[in-house]
Subunit: 342 residues, 4 copies
């Protein structure tokens, strides 16, 4: 079985655990070669659970091992770009959680290294692998709803993240709305040229302490003259709200559902169901499928479905929205193009 792709997973936190388990058991042409995390107890525990006898707290052990073909980066956001640089230098392919980096400069530097080295890079916008979103994309592409005219993309977390997370996450647009940015580009099949964003702290004044916001509405104009509108909140008050409506000239597609358990309760107060809690439940299988596809791309030496350019485009949109809120005016994306000093 020497032809299996040997993958090292870096990060043993919430999403790292998920990815490690997937690589260990669910990818036909890959195997989990090594686990790395800065925390010895965390990496040791996860290795034991996966019956893996090799783990490390030093990522150099992974990047320096010539038997490793690819790495999955699920460590803290600030480590993404440096690890991509190191992997490029070592000739290892990379699957990285979003975002590539919190700033465009580091993103561009990492992407330049990737290009020079000729390695494959996939960014973890898992939503593209969700059965619902995938089906919608295919049906749009097949012309089933005609030309797309307006996309409405909503995303709300059940409740705000802890203060420590807010402090380092890069703000609403780079941390959360980034998923919507990728989603609307992908579904529209066109490039944004301008955004207008309004935002506030409606959920918790804590966000203002970090110069951040918790509630936002963004209008996006694409190069084909069509629109998307994105609305977000750090707290839904009910569960994980992820719904996308795509309106075309011949009909519409509504993606998303809310029920978690397939049970309806009827009583004197009416009819009741529960609601899907959060992203790990909602995108359960998508987290598996993105890695299966990454491993297939590596095996085939083909470009992954979600490239570094996609990751950069999402960050540029975040920059533009932040500028729009600051300047209280529509902002062109061209200001944040590669090589432009904004």
């Amino acid at each position: 079985m020497a032809d299996r792709i040997r993958i090292g997973v870096i990060g043993a936190g919430r999403i790292g655990k998920r990815h490690a388990r997937t690589v260990a058991t669910l990818i036909p042409n890959a195997e989990l070669a090594v686990l790395a995390d800065v925390s010895d107890p965390a990496v040791r525990a996860l290795a034991a659970e996966l019956r893996l006898d090799r783990w490390t707290t030093n990522t150099d052990d992974v990047l320096g091992d010539p038997s490793i073909d690819a790495i999955v980066i699920a460590s803290s956001t600030d480590s993404h770009a440096p690890l991509i640089q190191q992997a490029a230098a070592a000739g290892k392919h990379v699957f990285t959680e979003k975002p590539i980096a919190l700033d465009l400069e580091s993103t561009d530097a990492a992407l330049a290294a990737v290009e020079r080295a000729g390695i494959l890079l996939q960014v973890g916008f898992q939503r593209r692998y969700d059965k619902g979103f995938r089906s919608a994309k295919e049906r749009i592409a097949s012309g089933e709803i005609g030309e797309v005219e307006i996309i409405h993309d909503a995303m709300r977390d059940p409740s705000p993240p802890p203060k420590a997370y807010v402090a380092t996450c890069g703000g609403l647009y780079r941390d959360m709305v980034i998923h919507n940015f990728d989603n609307i580009r992908w579904l529209m099949g066109a490039e944004p040229v301008e955004v207008y964003a309004v935002a506030t702290c409606a959920v918790d004044p804590m966000f203002a302490e970090f110069n951040d916001v918790d509630t936002s509405v963004v209008t996006v104009t694409f190069d084909n003259g069509r629109f998307a509108v994105i609305d977000n909140s750090r707290r839904s008050g009910f569960g994980y709200d992820v719904r996308t409506e795509v309106f075309g000239s011949k009909g519409a597609l509504f993606i998303g559902y809310s029920r978690d358990t397939p049970v309806l309760k009827y009583d004197t107060a009416g009819v009741h169901s529960d609601h899907v809690h959060f992203f790990l439940e909602r995108f359960d299988q998508a987290y598996v499928d993105e890695l299966i596809d990454f491993a297939a791309a590596v095996a085939d030496r083909r470009q992954p479905a979600i490239t570094g350019a996609d990751g950069r485009a999402a960050i540029a949109l975040a920059y533009a929205c932040e500028a729009s809120v600051r300047e209280h005016a529509p902002v062109k994306l061209a200001r944040f193009a590669k090589g432009v000093s904004a």
Copy 2:
């Protein structure tokens, strides 16, 4: 406007009010000529509300008036058959609330009078005029779901009727399940040949006092070898439960809905909607459409869509179910055919 059909409405109770209002304002080719009710205050109040200057507490005033073309019977059940007899004698067409009578003998006598007089008689199984049931019937007839194989018909009231009602209503099968009996005959387009019924008092021991039941499951076998199953309760615990599933060789139709107000509430407990309360809300427009169609049938001198034979068939099914519960065995409908001494 001498060509309008002049209708007298008998009964100013809950359903009588509804019918009087319909005749007064919503039937293009008919007019409300007179109102009758045994209660002077009731009939007076309703007449005032409808700006009608003719009302009576004596039904003879209605039946003896040669200018009246037709009557709508919405008075107490025991008055239905005698009024039909009188109307037949007077040559007036009749729309009657279900049932024609609580017993087969009176039903058969009334129907014989109708036939001799050549008047038109329509029975108020309003469900046949509901937009949903009507659409389903048309689609079944068009072959959209192929040959019908099983019908599942559920009906539950929100809460049990008052004791006085139970005392005189004729029991679960003649009062309530009678709607399902008509419904399954109509949707199947075939005649029942045998029933098997189990029943109990699960809701309230009060029903047992009147030798009645409140909970029932009936299996019906049709002359085409196919089946229906009917389940009923005098108390749903949540609202008015009226749902029918029709399974055919090429697909299925599910008729019914539960939401009353078009609002969904999302909160930490999940997703919530309300539930339709009871039959006047659920079948709102059907109560209008049945009378519009009756007036049209009278104008055209054509047989109404729901005939005396339909009314009799439903009562015969009630008899068969009662026998099945009593005898703890399947019972053939032939035992209750016209002219057979059961």
Copy 3:
């Protein structure tokens, strides 16, 4: 019955017919006194249908009749303001279809006349009387979902109106989005201070001929710092799309439904239902309830629920959106305040 409010209905077109029928039969404390329409055949036919023996092609007959208490204006948009002025002069109360006028100047002049005369004026934003929207408003007011943070209001017609309509309707914002403008003000319980609008012709280049658009996304900022987003299209490709989502600090309310007939079809291609066709079906009962409430307001000499100020606010929002599209910038509502020369 001298105490019934005597109402004259002006306009025998689609919505005029509906209102005339309501006044004639469904309002307990009102009666239809006279019908007026510029078209003799139209008004004659409707009068016959309603068994009304008084009609006219001259509105002066209505406004000059001292026995008439109130009028319902359902004639062409350009006649609304002049009729309101005349009714004010004659001391008659007015229910008018939206909008009061297509321009702010005529609107302000009409409202000044209303104020001087002390008559009551209700504007026909029927959505406020819809069972779903009404329930949502009550639940918001009761604090059920906490503080409202974002409202998403969508509205799409099934297919574009005819060219003749587009030529005189006043454009997307004054003709169509005006309903959303009223809706978000009402549900938010706050006043808009700024809008940002993007719009295009995605449906039909015909709209551009009239300097109009068919597709729009509007972001609204309220004086409480919260947001609404409105998206519209002149063609949904599927039916009448009217849905509103209200997100609050403790949960959310989703208003709207799509199924017309209560039937689900299951076949090898999946599960299918139909879709509500257009506004007369969707807001059926709301068109009745708004007139019942108007007649009650007249009887009680109380301010109607939807005032001239509400009608003006909606038109001002339309002006602001048009300016925003033209100027490609956010626009403050203060520019269109009463007495401000924009």
Copy 4:
């Protein structure tokens, strides 16, 4: 890791593959020790896929290996009872797919062996591990809907099985309805005392060739006087129909859903979704959770949640239904009690 439960999986067909994969990767306290199947290519291929280096075509290799703690039986139905007997003799715990055997005699013999040997036996009624059914059971047990009065249990396959399957499956009641039998016993928390069944060949005359039926309605009376009704078909015409309605004195629970992909399509024909295809998709996670719970039961030496007695009760209900169809009469379960010669 010597304390992991070592499991041998017997059967490499559709369900065997699923179970083998689960044991290999998804049960924390178990490991896949060996695979067995009568087909060498099948067992070899599955072993390769799971990176397992031990497989056999001889079940004696599994049952004779003292290092094996438990077996999972997913081979052909006629092999279930003999394998249970052998496992009992060898002191190995058993998880077996339903049914234990197609006849009561073999079932009773197998259960006697299990009891003598003191091994643990779990029967694969996976529905009990479905998130929806599990939640419903818990809520019923907690009294959330009061006393259960009627259960309606529907089950339809998307299309009939191949002839070869029909020939050996034991007929509709022992092969398919057996799932419903277990389900209603479990949800009602009471024992059936009588059944009445009607059945026919509506789908395909092929079933009659094997003295089998394809369409059935069963009424069940429980020892608490309450009812269940089960309706089945070998062909839904649309997908996998598995829905259960539980009506209680304080409300109802509806279990089941139909949508597979979370996308709604809106077009001129209405609103459309897809439908879940078949049991492997519908009960995906339940097939994992039942084995996790089995392994936990083995580890804890506690009785599994679904016992041999449950498996026997389901087969006895099948016998009673067959007798009811044959005898055209209600049939008491007591006729098929253990030790009774029916």
